[in-house]
C-alpha cells in the first residue's frame, strides 16, 4: 500500500509500539514505589498531606496503568505477529521469563485493584499500605523479567548450536546472561529516577502557579532526594554497562563512541558530527576517558569498529542517542545535587523561578533520556535480532499489509496519548489539592 517492505515496516511498528509503551511502563514501574513511600511517610509522620499524595497519585495511576496494560498486550502479540521466525526460535529458549512476567503482572493487577477500591475498608492504614507491597514488587518484577528477555537478545546464552540445531537448552542459564545484571538494574534505577523527577517537576510547577504551598513543598523535597539517590545509582550502573559493552558487545560501544580504530589510551568523544569520510567534527574529545569507561585503566586498549566486518556494524547514529542519555543523566544528577545542598545550607536560589523551571524541564528530559537509552541499546545491536545468531531480516514476517497495520497503530497511539493527557488534566483540575484537603479536615487546614 504505502511501503511494501515487511522488514522495514515491522521494525518501524515495533519501534513505535515500544517507544509509546515505555512511557507507561516507566510510570508503571516507578510510581507504585513513590505511592508506597508517600503512604508510608503519611503514616509515620501522621501527616494528611502525604496520605493525600498517595491517594491522588494512585487515582492518576489507574489511567496510565490502563494504557500500559493495553500497549503491553499489543507488544506481546506483535512479537509473534511481526517476528514469527524469531519467536519460533527464541520461544524454545526464552519462554520462561515471558511466562513469569505474566504472573508478575497478574499479581500487580489484582492488588492494584484491591488497593484502589479499599481506602475506606481498613481502619488501620498500615494494613492498606501492605496492599501496595505486591503492587510495587509486581511492577519491578515484570520489568525484571521482560528486561531478561531483552538481555538474552543482546547476549544469547543457555543453549548450544549443534549443526544449526538448538541443543541442551537450559532455561535458567538463558535468563542469567552476561547482559542481564547491568540491564535490569539500569532499567529499574532509571525508571525510579525518572518518576521521582517527574513528580518533582509537577510539584515545582504547581508551586509556581501558587497552589497549596505546604503540600507541594513536601512533595518537591522528598522527590528531589529520591531522584538524586536513583540518579547516582543510574550513573554507577551506567558505568558498569559501559564495561559490559567493552567486554561482550564491543561493536555497540565502538559505534556509540565513533571509535573506529582499535587503540590504547582511547579518548571519549562527546557530541560532534560526522562528515562523509567518517571524520568527527566539532566534537569534544576527553583523552583517556573511553579507556577508563571501558576498562577502568587509562592505558587499556579499546576495540574499534575496524575489528568487525562492515555488514555487522551498528548504525553510527547511536552516538547521538548515547550522548543525549548521558548528558541528561548528568544534568539531572547535578540539578538534584545542587538542590539538596541548597536545602541543607538554606540557600534560597533554588526556590527562584528560574531554578524551578529547570526542575520542570527535568520531567520531559528524563523521559527523553529513557527513550534515547533504549534507542541506543536496540539500534546498537543491529543488524542482529539475536546477536550472532539471527539477523533482523531473518526474523521478520513475510506477510503483506504491515504498512497498513502500522498506520492503524499510529492512529491508536495518537488517540491513547491524547486521551491520557486530557483525562489526567481534567481529573486533577476538577479536584485540586485544596478542595480534597477540605473534605478531610473540614475547611481550615493550611
Amino acid at each position: 500500500m504505502f511501503i511494501d517492505d515487511p522488514v522495514l515496516m515491522s521494525r518501524l511498528l515495533t519501534l513505535l509500539t515500544l517507544s509509546f509503551h515505555i512511557f507507561y511502563a516507566t510510570v508503571g514501574v516507578g510510581l507504585p514505589l513513590m505511592i508506597m513511600l508517600f503512604h508510608w511517610l503519611g503514616i509515620k509522620k501522621d501527616d494528611i498531606h502525604y496520605i493525600l499524595m498517595a491517594r491522588r497519585l494512585a487515582k492518576g495511576f489507574v489511567v496510565t496503568v490502563a494504557v500500559g496494560v493495553v500497549t503491553g498486550t499489543a507488544i506481546g502479540l506483535q512479537l509473534a505477529l511481526l517476528w514469527p521466525n524469531f519467536m519460533q526460535l527464541a520461544g524454545h529458549i526464552i519462554a520462561l521469563p515471558l511466562f513469569m512476567e505474566v504472573f508478575a503482572f497478574f499479581f500487580e493487577a489484582i492488588f492494584l485493584g484491591i488497593y484502589l477500591y479499599t481506602w475506606d475498608r481498613f481502619d488501620n492504614q498500615k494494613k492498606h499500605l501492605l496492599l501496595l507491597v505486591p503492587v510495587a514488587i509486581g511492577g519491578a518484577l515484570s520489568a525484571f523479567f521482560i528486561t531478561v528477555v531483552n538481555s538474552f537478545m543482546n547476549a544469547p546464552g543457555g543453549f548450544e548450536m549443534i549443526n544449526g540445531e538448538l541443543a541442551n537448552v537450559n532455561p535458567l542459564l538463558a535468563m542469567f546472561t552476561v547482559a542481564m545484571p547491568t540491564k535490569v538494574t539500569h532499567v529499574l534505577a532509571t525508571a525510579y529516577m525518572t518518576i521521582a523527577f517527574t513528580l518533582a517537576a509537577i510539584a515545582a510547577f504547581r508551586l509556581m502557579k501558587g497552589s497549596h504551598k505546604a503540600y507541594y513543598k513536601k512533595s518537591l523535597n522528598v522527590m528531589m532526594k529520591v531522584g538524586f539517590v536513583f540518579a547516582i545509582a543510574s550513573a554507577i550502573i551506567g558505568d558498569f554497562s559501559g564495561k559490559y559493552l567493552a567486554e561482550h558487545q564491543p561493536e555497540k560501544l565502538a559505534a556509540a563512541e565513533w571509535h573506529f580504530e582499535t587503540e590504547e589510551q582511547a579518548p571519549l568523544i562527546l557530541w560532534g558530527i560526522l562528515d562523509e569520510n567518517n571524520e568527527v567534527k566539532y566534537g569534544i574529545e576527553i583523552p583517556f576517558a573511553l579507556s577508563i569507561l571501558a576498562h577502568s585503566d587509562p592505558n587499556a586498549e579499546v576495540i574499534g569498529l575496524d575489528q568487525f566486518p562492515e555488514e555487522h556494524h551498528p548504525p553510527l547514529i547511536i552516538h547521538y542517542f548515547f550522548d543525549t542519555m548521558i548528558t541528561i543523566g548528568m544534568f539531572m544528577l547535578t540539578l538534584s545535587f545542587v538542590f539538596l545542598v541548597a536545602r541543607w545550607r538554606n540557600w534560597t536560589f533554588v526556590d527562584k523561578k528560574w531554578y524551578r523551571w529547570l526542575i520542570v524541564m527535568g520531567a520531559p528530559l528524563s523521559f527523553l533520556g529513557i527513550q534515547a537509552g533504549w534507542w541506543m541499546s536496540e539500534v546498537g545491536r543491529q543488524p542482529w535480532i539475536l546477536r550472532g545468531i539471527m539477523t533482523v531480516d531473518e526474523g521478520a514476517t513475510t506477510a503483506s499489509h504491515v504498512d497498513l497495520v502500522f498506520f492503524f497503530f499510529v492512529l491508536l497511539y495518537l488517540i491513547l496519548g491524547v486521551g491520557t493527557i486530557v483525562v489526567l488534566r481534567k481529573m486533577f483540575k476538577d479536584k485540586p489539592v485544596e478542595k480534597e484537603l477540605e473534605s478531610y479536615a473540614g475547611g481550615d487546614e493550611q
Binding site: A66, A95, L166
Partner: protein, 338 residues
C-alpha cells in the same frame, strides 16, 4: 500424561477462564450501552460499574497468559499463527486497547459520557467476533504454504459459512454468559428491576445460542469431516452440556437459585469447550501443526510447568481475596461501600 497434554490442558483451561470472565465483561458493556441508548441506564449502569471496576484488568491478564503460554509451550505456533494472523489479530489488539483504556478514561475521567459507553459496547461485539477468527483458521482450509511460509486466504475465510457460524456463536455466547451472570449479580444487589431486565436477556439469547452451536457442528461436517467425526465420538460431552443448558434455563425461567444457574452455565460451557478442544486433538492448526511437532524442548516444558504451579499458588489466594472483597462482600455488592 505427556508434557504436551499437560501444556495444552493448562492453556485450554486459561482460554476457558478468559472466555467466561471476558464474556461477562464484553456483554456487560453491550447491555450498558444498550440501556443508555434506550434511556434505561438508571436500571443497569450502577450494577455493571460496581462489578467491572476492580476486575477488568485481571480479565485482560487471562488473555495475555494464554498467548504467552502457547508461544512458550508451542513455539511453532508463533510461526504459523503469527505469520497468518497479522491483520485479524491487529484488529483485535486495537479494539482491546480502545476498550481497556476508554474504560479507565470513562470511569475516572468523565463519567456518563454517551460516546464512550457506545464505543465500549460496540467493542464488546467486535472483539469476540475478531478473536473467534482464530478458531475458524485452526480448522484448516484457509491457510496454504507458499515457499514454506504460511499464507492466509482472506477470500476463502470470508466466504466460508463456517466463519460466520463461529462469529455468530461467539457473539451470542457472550451475551448469554454475561446475562446469566449479571442476573445473579443484580439479584445479590437486591435490585429487582435490574434482575428482571437481565433475566429477560437470558431468555432472549438462550435459544439462539443452541441454534448457533448446532449450526457449527453442521458446518464442520462439510468443512472438516475428520473433526466432525471426532465430535460425534464425544457426543456425550455435548449431551451433558445441553442438559446443563436446559436446567439453567429452567431455573432462570422460574426465578429460582440464580447462583446455581451461574455454575450450571459455566459447566455447560466447560463441557462444550473441552469437548470441542479434545475433538480437535492433536491439531493446533489442521493439518500443518500438531501439539507434538510444535512442542518445546523438555527442559523448557518442565520449567514452565513448575513456574505455572508456583504461580498458581500465589495467584489463587489473591484471586480469592479479590472475589471475596468485591463479588461476595454483601456490603460492597449492595453499594454501601464505594
Amino acid at each position: 500424561m505427556s508434557l504436551e497434554i499437560i501444556g495444552i490442558t493448562v492453556l485450554w483451561l486459561f482460554l476457558f477462564f478468559y472466555i467466561i470472565v471476558g464474556s461477562i465483561d464484553f456483554g456487560a458493556g453491550v447491555f450498558n450501552a444498550h440501556s443508555i441508548m434506550t434511556g434505561k441506564q438508571h436500571i443497569l449502569s450502577k450494577v455493571i460499574q460496581r462489578y467491572l471496576s476492580p476486575v477488568w484488568e485481571v480479565t485482560n491478564v487471562f488473555f495475555v497468559f494464554f498467548f504467552v503460554g502457547i508461544i512458550g509451550f508451542f513455539p511453532d505456533s508463533a510461526f504459523f499463527f503469527g505469520s497468518v494472523l497479522l491483520v485479524p489479530a491487529s484488529i483485535s489488539i486495537i479494539l482491546l486497547a480502545l476498550r481497556g483504556s476508554y474504560y479507565a478514561f470513562e470511569s475516572y475521567g468523565s463519567q456518563g459520557h454517551r460516546g464512550y459507553a457506545f464505543m465500549y459496547g460496540a467493542t464488546g461485539i467486535l472483539i469476540p467476533a475478531s478473536l473467534s477468527v482464530v478458531l475458524t483458521i485452526s480448522e484448516g482450509g484457509f491457510v496454504y504454504l507458499d515457499d514454506g511460509q504460511p499464507v492466509l486466504s482472506y477470500e476463502l475465510l470470508f466466504t466460508s459459512p463456517l466463519t460466520w457460524a463461529i462469529v455468530v456463536l461467539s457473539i451470542v455466547a457472550v451475551l448469554y454468559i454475561s446475562s446469566v451472570f449479571l442476573t445473579w449479580y443484580a439479584s445479590k444487589t437486591e435490585d429487582q428491576e435490574a434482575t428482571g431486565m437481565m433475566r429477560k436477556y437470558v431468555l432472549i439469547w438462550a435459544v439462539p445460542l443452541i441454534v448457533a452451536a448446532g449450526g457449527i457442528i453442521f458446518e464442520l461436517q462439510n468443512h472438516n469431516s475428520a473433526h466432525f467425526d471426532s465430535i460425534l465420538n464425544l457426543w456425550w460431552m455435548f449431551a451433558i452440556s445441553f442438559v446443563l443448558w436446559a436446567i439453567t434455563l429452567w431455573l432462570i425461567w422460574n426465578r429460582r437459585k440464580y447462583g446455581l444457574a451461574v455454575w450450571l452455565m459455566i459447566g455447560q460451557f466447560a463441557f462444550a469447550f473441552f469437548g470441542y478442544g479434545i475433538s480437535h486433538y492433536p491439531y493446533l492448526l489442521y493439518p500443518y501443526l500438531t501439539i507434538y511437532d510444535g512442542f518445546t524442548n523438555e527442559a523448557m516444558a518442565i520449567s514452565l510447568i513448575v513456574v505455572f504451579i508456583l504461580g498458581m499458588m500465589l495467584l489463587l489466594p489473591s484471586l480469592y481475596l479479590l472475589l471475596r472483597l468485591f463479588l461476595f462482600d454483601p456490603k460492597y455488592v449492595k453499594g454501601k461501600r464505594e
